[in-house]
Amino acid sequence: MKHVIEVEGLIKEFNSVRVLDGITFYVDEGEVFGLLGPNGAGKTTTIKILLGLLKPTSGKALVFGKSLANDGSKDLRRRVGVLLEGDGLFPKLTAYENLDFYARIYGLSNRRERELRIKELLELVDLYEVRDLKVAYLSRGMRRRLALARALINNPKVLFLDEPTVGLDPESRVMVRDLVIKLSKKWGVTILYTSHDLREVEEVCLKVGILVRGRLIAYGYVSELISRFSKSVIEVRLSRECELLKAYNALKLRGYIVEISSSNRSILVIDGDAPEVLRELVSDGVNVEEVRRLGSSLEDVYFKIVKGD
């Protein structure tokens, strides 16, 4: 499959301070790629280089095999949708006028087509009722939703979404999440997505890259990263609370890493094999009610990588 986004050995320095240190990743057609990392890790800088707003110190940052930094990239820019930290909306214009402005800029010259597209998008983000209200009077969440509609005005083939759900209520977050999934699965839109909400990223993204201080520390499919970086944790629930200490000592003696769970009557065994743990506890006369493997999440992976948990 052809890569839609290619980032290879990307380095960016501001006044001799290296903010991106040779990062490499690829995003294929129709994929949603999550770029994660703490504040200042280099996520927005990466996006800005890909969009041609910043020049790389060295390395490649290509979209459809071309750089958006070139003056001759007008046609390419028509295929790209952008939602950055700023909403990109003019406060003195109404919601409708803002979309109309961008529709014209992106070359939707047919008035009827433009009107239909704007109506469709305003309904999609549930803002049709407030279309004649100036953006300055819209709430933060409404502006963000309108900005999302703006980013879709040109039917983009590639979409850069930098924290699209910031300032949104839970209902709108779900709307954005579902829309992103629909865009990628139904219409094959390639999406580069950043967010601090790791659950959201896990639900939306197929692949992720984790940036820490300008370096791509982890990169791959979400499921792959979870199995690579997460510890296997087994929860052993006992029949009687009084046996908790007995079980704890028995496993500790056999060299297991054990923790008492916050809920009563259970202990957690890190990196243990469930049948073996069960066999050993039963042989020690402990009454076990249930043994189950706890699922790991992207959040666990993230904190393990970023904070070294």
Partner: protein, 219 residues
């Protein structure tokens, strides 16, 4: 060019909804009323006064609107605009024309007010001056100002307003003085001023090519 017209339209809509424009017009109106009521008829030569009044009023309104060259940065719109198919030159040109129109309208109104109140005789050279030289001069001041703001990283530096205005005014008045002293036809003088203004605009257009997006979005 088509995209520049979209910017022009947006600028005009914003201008109509902007209190700064209304206050500019009110200021110009109040100044002219005060001037007309406190200056005795015959004390000034209306034709000569118009030569100064027209560009000064236009540039004064243009100064008031010049922050529009840098507004998008503060409003968080600039980066999104720069990601669109719009080029920097198209954006700048759209802004120049979008700000020139209200500035020139103010200039025309002021000439009309003084003209009607003081009985201005509109001969051919003066008509050329008002319809050609004045808008070219206002456009060059606005255009150079916008270009310099952008070269400085989208910062509105007020002192530049005066530097650009006084430099171009000096050129204009030297030409007019030269025309008077050398007994050259006034039309030729006007042509020189228009050509200089257009040359300044062309220079600004060329400079646009050397402004990087990175420079503009830098905090």
């Amino acid at each position: 060019m088509r995209r520049s017209l979209i910017i022009v339209k947006k600028e005009l809509v914003e201008t109509l909804r902007d209190r700064a424009t209304v206050s500019s017009y009110l200021f110009v109106g109040a100044f002219l009323m005060l001037f007309n009521s406190t200056t005795f008829k015959g004390v000034i030569n209306v034709e000569a006064f118009t030569v100064y009044l027209a560009p000064v009023v236009g540039v004064a309104v243009g100064f008031n609107l010049a922050n529009r060259f840098v507004r998008e940065k503060g409003e968080g719109v600039l980066e999104t605009l720069l990601c669109s198919p719009l080029t920097l030159t198209e954006l700048w040109l759209g802004k120049v024309v979008g700000l020139l129109i209200p500035s020139y309208i103010a200039s025309l109104i002021s000439v009309m007010v003084i003209g009607i109140a003081r009985g201005l005789t509109l001969d051919a050279p003066l008509l050329i001056y008002i319809t050609l030289v004045t808008p070219a001069f206002i456009a060059s001041v606005i255009g150079l100002l916008g270009c310099l703001y952008w070269i400085l990283g989208m910062r509105e530096v007020r002192i530049l307003n005066y530097v650009v205005f006084f430099t171009l005014s000096a050129v204009m008045f030297i030409v007019l003085r030269f025309v008077n002293a050398m007994s050259v036809s006034i039309e030729l003088g006007y042509l020189v001023i228009t050509a200089t203004s257009l040359a300044m605009l062309s220079l600004a257009t060329c400079l646009m090519r050397y402004i990087s997006k990175e420079r503009l979005i830098k905090p």
